[in-house]
């Protein structure tokens, strides 16, 4: 034990070494057309021009208060809309990931949003945006960089959360019927759920609460409206 490093605070000047190219990538998921879908952007410029990829951008240390704020700024730039309810997925890095830099590090974030409440439009460096069914995105399309891995991780963690009824914020409207909620969960998971078990589980875990007096009326019997928690 020991060897004091002389206090000469002059230990390592931090910027003695080159730092990697640090980016944020966004895996934005939604439910549309009865399935889980991921938002892909077509790259307007090299590298990988014309390829589909997750929207992303460079970390700006002069602008971003933290990583999540960086992700939100990137969302504004690429998707032209705010992006609430982010959760961090993972970081990946290496020398071969991006031809623009000798070493590229990406922090991936995920959001799960309501289709109706989120209408992005292609911002800087994107020719187009498109919702792609989640399972097709990881298999059929050849996504740029290592984004297929990131989509897979986003989808898997999201399905796991839904499985244990840990419902992410952002994909539920303020009020909804239990059947609507069940349909959303089924779309995300890609399989049918049993109505009775689903409802029992919901209230064992205190996931939702009825809104007193609020009912959805429609063609048939009115349905109780609920809110989260």
């Amino acid at each position: 034990m020991s060897t004091t490093n002389l206090a000469g605070a002059n230990a390592t000047p931090p910027n003695r070494h080159a730092m990697p190219f640090v980016r944020i990538e966004l895996a934005v998921l939604t439910v549309t057309d009865g399935r889980l879908a991921v938002l892909l952007g077509r790259r307007a410029a090299a590298p990988q021009q014309g390829q589909w990829a997750l929207p992303g951008g460079v970390l700006r240390i002069d602008l971003d208060r933290d990583l999540e704020a960086a992700a939100q700024r990137v969302a504004m730039e690429r998707l032209q809309v705010p992006l609430p309810f982010l959760s961090q997925l993972r970081a990946t890095g290496g020398p071969q990931r991006d031809p623009r830099a000798p070493w590229a590090l990406s922090i991936a974030y995920r959001a799960l949003l309501r289709f109706e409440a989120f209408t992005p439009s292609p911002g800087k460096r994107l020719e187009a945006l498109q919702w792609t069914p989640a399972d097709a995105a990881t298999t059929d399309l050849a996504l740029a960089f290592d984004h297929a891995d990131l989509v897979r991780i986003a989808v898997d963690t999201t399905r796991a959360e839904i499985d244990r009824l840990d419902l992410p914020d952002g994909f539920l409207p303020d009020c909804f019927t239990l059947s609507e909620l069940q349909a959303s969960c089924e779309a995300i998971l890609g399989r049918r759920l049993d109505k009775s078990s689903f409802r029992r589980r919901l209230d064992d875990h205190h996931v939702v609460e009825p809104i007193p007096g609020a009912m959805r009326t429609g063609a048939f019997r009115p349905a109780q409206l609920y809110r989260k928690r």
Copy 2:
């Protein structure tokens, strides 16, 4: 498939923006003295000289093949031993995290290792190393930077893995008795487990298999030896 990367393609020259100071932090856990413990290093130099912190170091894009390799190199430098079986915990970043740089980003890794098979010694920039009970580390000691949060995350995810019998590599010897395994799990979780349920769960999940003919003899009745999977 891919478009060639025209060197000058007027995409963004990546280094137009300053990049953050990128570090790796290591949360190395073990079981000793019947409890889960985390390896802390006493910082030899400013900032936070003399404070206890997770061992860590700067990402070196000239040396590291990827983030995990970076973590292994940092382990060699700080702990003087290799550090296998790493898993990524999370990334955190912001302008106030480290006075050495205007913006600091850390990627935290975790390892769970056998106490007997891992004897680190303080390397560069560390005065001392010490195993500290995991729960005390997050409460009693005032760890440097935001490392208390990282320890908490490391401990929580590790306990969750053990709970679901998703036993990380690296903390089991090649062969062991079921009682030894149970004792390790109890130490990590901080609570007693029922022998019978534990064993039934082990073989329902096919976590371990008996090594034919191998027995541990000792003071009392010999015990069957097992290996992982």
